[in-house]
């Protein structure tokens, strides 16, 4: 993991609220950091048509969430629910993240898996 590269990439990240979202998911890591994200999803017939996010917190979390949003667009909800932590980390180039930052990087996926209402 190249921290500097990630920190630089952050400047390009755009956080915004998706106006026509039909699913809004909130996730947080309250224990010692207080970081939080909100995922805005437009899901139709099990397909994620569009997505965006807002939130505050460390840059690993912001980076991971923006990559997550990028990754899920156009995909099947079921496919994302089946995505393993390891696969996700590999997908977003954070496979070698330190143990203490895992919770930051995994929060978007965790939020999606745990908070998405089961239909």
């Amino acid at each position: 993991m190249d921290l500097i590269k990630i920190l630089k990439a952050l400047k390009l990240i755009k956080k915004h609220k998706l106006k026509d979202a039909n699913v809004v998911l909130y996730g947080s890591n309250p224990y010692h950091c207080g970081d939080n994200i909100t995922l805005y999803l437009k899901i139709e017939n099990g397909i994620i048509k569009d997505a965006s996010f807002e939130g505050t917190g460390c840059n690993i979390l912001m980076y991971a969430t923006s990559k997550f949003i990028e990754h899920i667009k156009g995909k099947n909800v079921k496919e994302i629910l089946e995505l393993s932590d390891r696969e996700f980390l590999k997908e977003i180039d954070l496979a070698d993240i330190s143990k203490s930052r895992l919770q930051c990087a995994l929060l978007p996926l965790k939020t999606f898996k745990e908070k998405l209402p089961r239909i």
Binding site: L7, C33, G57, C58, N59, S98, R101
Partner: protein, 398 residues
């Protein structure tokens, strides 16, 4: 004070390449402490108090000797005023749970407390409906003494930290004592960040209770100290009950033991007491005044460097009011990311909320990076930190 020689005493610095600036969380251990614990295990180990055999006698003597060393270190009246618990948090829980507080009684604490001196009182607000007042900080980010004076009116208890674990400020305990006296309040001091770094004299400071932890002063983790004035400790009800803390037990009643055993239920952390004794002997040999002076020089170097780089830091601007730590934030980079970057450069700092959520909310910051020094840190450590921060800012072009 020969820092190079001191550093030689800490095996970890020979084995690991690290600049350790996380001393407010916990400190490293010198060989003298390690050896004393090993020697105790190899030559004297036994349970205390219970046995007539030679090992139990020796272990008991060593355990009591440890309390005498602690009593002397903080200039307590007697070693019976030294209660061993697990840590500062447990010490304050002990007091909060045994003080005879009733509905409507006023307890005053501050916005800058570590949760260990906040939650025990917050819980009493719910459980016993005590009146909890929280003293604010002023514009200088120091404890607002006017606010304290106002809120302390008729307070039963004033519970305040010696040194803030985020701001790094040393609170004016003399003035706080004056205010406590005016209101006949009991003064409880959280000494976790103060006692390891500043010469502490409970007689002169006239504190009623003082809590601190061994692991933040070169000793083992898992042993904390509660000092209390003898007459106050006598009055308090027992806390944990069971083995070791009684004089007599009958079918329907029990008589608590004398101080300090009344508050030490169950087999204590005996080897912890041994390590604590060695730690205090080490600190005393170096001299607390020397440690304080050395740390202040390092902190001055650090805050000057932060100011030069326009890095926002918290707490008093008056260097003589500061102790061994500085918390800061680089604009645009989250504290965790700064700490992670520093970790790549083999510099250990802490990031997050440092068990002080109310203070971070008050300062309106999501988290902070905290660098904290101890007697084995030197100028090179601080320069390395400042250089790394400079490099991070340059690389990100912020």
């Amino acid at each position: 004070m020969d820092v190079a020689k001191i550093k030689e005493d800490f095996p970890i610095f020979k084995k690991r390449k690290i600049i350790y600036l996380d001393n407010a969380a916990s400190t490293q251990k010198p060989i003298q402490v390690i050896n004393e614990i090993v020697d105790f295990y190899e030559n004297h180990y036994s349970n205390i108090h219970r046995g007539l055999h030679i090992l139990s006698q020796e272990a008991s003597e060593i355990y009591e000797e440890s309390k005498k060393i602690v009593a002397n270190f903080i200039n307590a009246y007697s070693w019976r005023e030294i209660i061993y618990v697990r840590n500062t948090t447990e010490a304050i829980n002990l007091i909060a749970n045994t003080l005879p507080l009733n509905k409507g009684d006023k307890v005053v604490t501050t916005i800058m407390e570590h949760h260990s001196n906040f939650l025990p009182w917050l819980r009493l607000k719910k459980l016993k409906k005590i009146q909890l007042e929280i003293v604010d900080i002023n514009e200088e980010q120091e404890l607002d003494m006017n606010d304290l004076e106002k809120k302390a009116k008729d307070a039963k208890v004033i519970a305040v930290t010696f040194v803030s674990n985020v701001l790094g400020n040393i609170n004016d305990l003399k003035e706080i004592r004056r205010i406590a006296d005016e209101n006949a309040s009991i003064l409880i001091v959280d000494g976790a960040q103060g006692v390891p770094h500043l010469l502490t004299n409970v007689k002169r400071m006239k504190v009623d209770f003082l809590a601190f932890s061994a692991h933040k002063m070169l000793g083992p983790s898992g042993i904390g100290i509660l000092y209390g004035k003898e007459e106050l400790l006598e009055e308090l009800d027992v806390f944990l009950v069971g083995g070791g803390m009684i004089k007599d037990v009958r079918m329907d009643e029990f008589v608590p033991a004398e101080l300090p055993w009344k508050f030490e239920a169950g087999t204590p952390f005996i080897e912890g007491a041994v390590g604590l004794k060695a730690a205090i002997e080490y600190l005393t040999t170096v001299g607390m005044e020397n440690i304080e002076k050395h740390e202040r020089e390092l902190i001055k170097l650090l805050v000057d460097g932060l100011e030069e780089q326009n890095i926002e830091y918290y707490g008093s601007r008056k260097i003589k009011k500061r102790s061994s730590l500085v918390s800061f934030n680089i604009k645009g980079i989250h504290a965790h990311d700064v700490a992670e970057y520093l970790n790549y450069k083999h510099i250990a700092v802490r990031s997050g909320l440092h068990c002080a959520h109310p203070l971070h909310r008050r300062l309106n910051i999501p988290a902070s990076v905290r660098a904290s020094v101890y007697l084995y840190n030197n100028e090179e450590d601080i320069i390395a930190l400042l250089d790394a921060l400079k490099r991070l800012i340059k690389e990100l072009n912020i």
